[in-house]
């Protein structure tokens, strides 16, 4: 295989996969060195990443650290499985979901039916968090804590229904 920049044989092969689109660049040692991608057989990782991935990396890195406070799912788990963990993920992972929604629906604004009652997101997130903590307490066999959390949850649900 020939180098993309000159006629020499390519020995450096870089593949970049972004959003399912794969791009491969083939270079010879000299051209790769000239581009500062390889220094005397050693890879200059930051330079390679900068060349190929650009600003994309910073964003993914930031998103990769995100965890939903209400249900505990990690953004990367969502990306791997394709299913969200709870309604609050749409707020928690907003930056990652926005471009995805644009790609799927070419829109990020609902224009259809609306429920007649207003929803109270703060209260719902609180209930979701309580449920996640309750579930964790049961898994950790902390039954006293679990009982306490269950009672809190019940009293909050009761006020929810009367309200």
């Amino acid at each position: 295989m020939k180098c993309h920049l000159c006629a020499n044989d390519a020995t450096v092969h870089l593949t970049d996969a972004t959003d399912g689109q794969k791009r491969t660049v083939h270079l010879c040692q000299a051209c790769a060195e000239q581009k500062n991608l390889v220094k005397q057989q050693e890879l200059n990782l930051p330079a390679i990443l900068e060349t190929l991935i650009g600003q994309h990396l910073g964003r993914t890195d930031e998103l990769a650290r995100l965890t939903c406070p209400a249900c505990g799912i990690k953004y990367m788990e969502f990306r791997a499985e394709g299913r969200l963990g709870c309604p609050h993920d749409y707020t928690a992972f907003r930056d990652g979901l926005e471009p995805l929604l644009q790609r799927i629906h070419r829109s990020s604004q609902h224009r259809g039916k609306k429920p007649r009652h207003r929803t109270d997101e703060i209260r719902e997130v609180e209930l979701l968090e309580l449920r996640t903590r309750l579930r964790q307490a049961v898994e950790d066999e902390q039954y006293e804590e679990a009982t306490r959390l269950r009672d809190v949850l019940r009293s909050k649900e009761a006020t929810d229904e009367s309200g």
Binding site: C71, I73, K114
Partner: protein, 356 residues
């Protein structure tokens, strides 16, 4: 509700009535909804799923509908019964095969089906025979309004109804129309139709959601976009494109008649003859031959020896789970093919003898 009783009826979508029913078999709309303060099904513990099922089951079976819904637990059902409901399109394959507490609430006429703990907590579905998207929408909208008075759905002003998968967010609506398009398949124009539909963001799938070569030449056309358009606009887009596909199918039928009437007559007559006399019959071959018979009847090439309603019924009853329900015993491959052929011979000859 006894599932064995359902086996002797046909269900809404194969009733063969309704507008353009010779080509448009059925119209279906489903809405995805979730409880606001619960994790989505895939993230819920077994305990939480039981809680969700308990709550929704109570609400769904107490809706003020003319025909109240009956709840069936899919978790405790036999694999044969699950497959039976999948074949009738009353539950999805996903609901049949996932784990944990889950179920479906149905009306006796099989027009409404509400799945609980599918990918979303609720999948409300309404089915109508023929080309009847507006009626289906009115009914599902009403079921949804009634449910909304009893539970708080996950909803945001910006993104609409929030769903486990971002491909359903917004309206949460998937509207689909099932078409029988044998002439477009025979004249090899079906791919062209697919490409045109994909360009306008409509999806095409087979009878049970499979890929390109659909069994029995049945195709489901549905919307892909759920966010940024109202339900009315989405339905309008589908409603506008269906008559064009119907016209193409009718043109293809006319071409077949004009250019190869003899060949066509032979093909549909042989199909009926084979169905009436074979002693072993696979599900796939049955679908293929019934598709020809259905076309032959609709083009008046078979002198009404059987009715379209009978053909539709036979389509359903020769599916593996239905066949086993009707014969009342579990059957393996060869036995099943023999039982299918026996059923076909009886059903299609008996129909043959009936005056029309």
């Amino acid at each position: 509700m006894n599932l064995d009783d359902l086996a002797h009826t046909c269900g809404e979508w194969l009733r063969a009535s309704g507008p353009e029913a010779d080509i448009v078999v059925s119209s279906r709309i489903r809405l995805a909804r979730n409880l606001a303060a619960m994790p989505f099904t895939n993230r819920a513990s077994a305990y939480q799923k039981a809680e969700i099922e308990g709550l929704l089951r109570e609400r769904v079976t107490h809706l003020e509908l003319e025909a109240p819904l009956t709840f069936l637990s899919v978790a405790t059902m036999s694999p044969l019964d699950r497959q039976f409901l999948v074949e009738r399109q009353l539950i999805s394959r996903e609901l049949a095969t996932t784990e944990g507490p889950r179920g479906v609430a149905l009306d006796g006429r099989e027009r409404i089906s509400v799945m609980i703990n599918e990918e979303d907590h609720l999948r409300e579905q309404v089915m109508r025979s023929g080309f009847a998207l507006d009626e289906a929408w009115q009914e599902i909208d009403r079921v949804d309004d009634l449910l909304e008075q009893r539970v708080t759905f996950a909803f945001s002003e910006e993104l609409g109804y929030l769903t486990a998968c971002p491909t359903n967010v917004g309206t949460g609506m998937r509207a689909s129309v099932m078409l029988h398009l044998p002439a477009l398949v025979w004249t090899k124009q079906i791919e062209k139709v697919f490409r045109a539909l994909q360009k306008i963001n409509l999806a095409v799938r087979g009878l049970y959601g499979e890929g390109s070569r659909a069994s029995g030449d049945f195709y489901q056309i549905s919307n892909q976009v759920t966010l940024g358009k109202s339900e009315t606009d989405i339905l309008k887009e589908i409603r506008e494109v269906i008559p064009q596909i119907i016209t193409y199918e009718r043109q293809a039928r006319a071409t077949l008649l004009r250019e190869s009437r003899q060949g066509l007559q032979d093909r549909v007559s042989r199909a009926l003859g084979t169905l009436q006399s074979a002693t072993m019959m696979t599900s796939e071959e049955t679908m293929d031959l019934l598709s020809s018979v259905r076309l032959g009847l609709n083009m008046a090439l078979l002198n009404d020896v059987v009715t379209i309603a009978t053909v539709n019924e036979v389509f359903l009853n020769t599916q593996p789970a239905h066949l086993q329900k009707l014969t009342g015993s579990a059957l393996d491959g060869e036995e099943r093919n023999a039982a299918r052929a026996r059923y076909l011979r009886n059903r299609l000859r008996e129909a043959d003898a009936q005056p029309n």
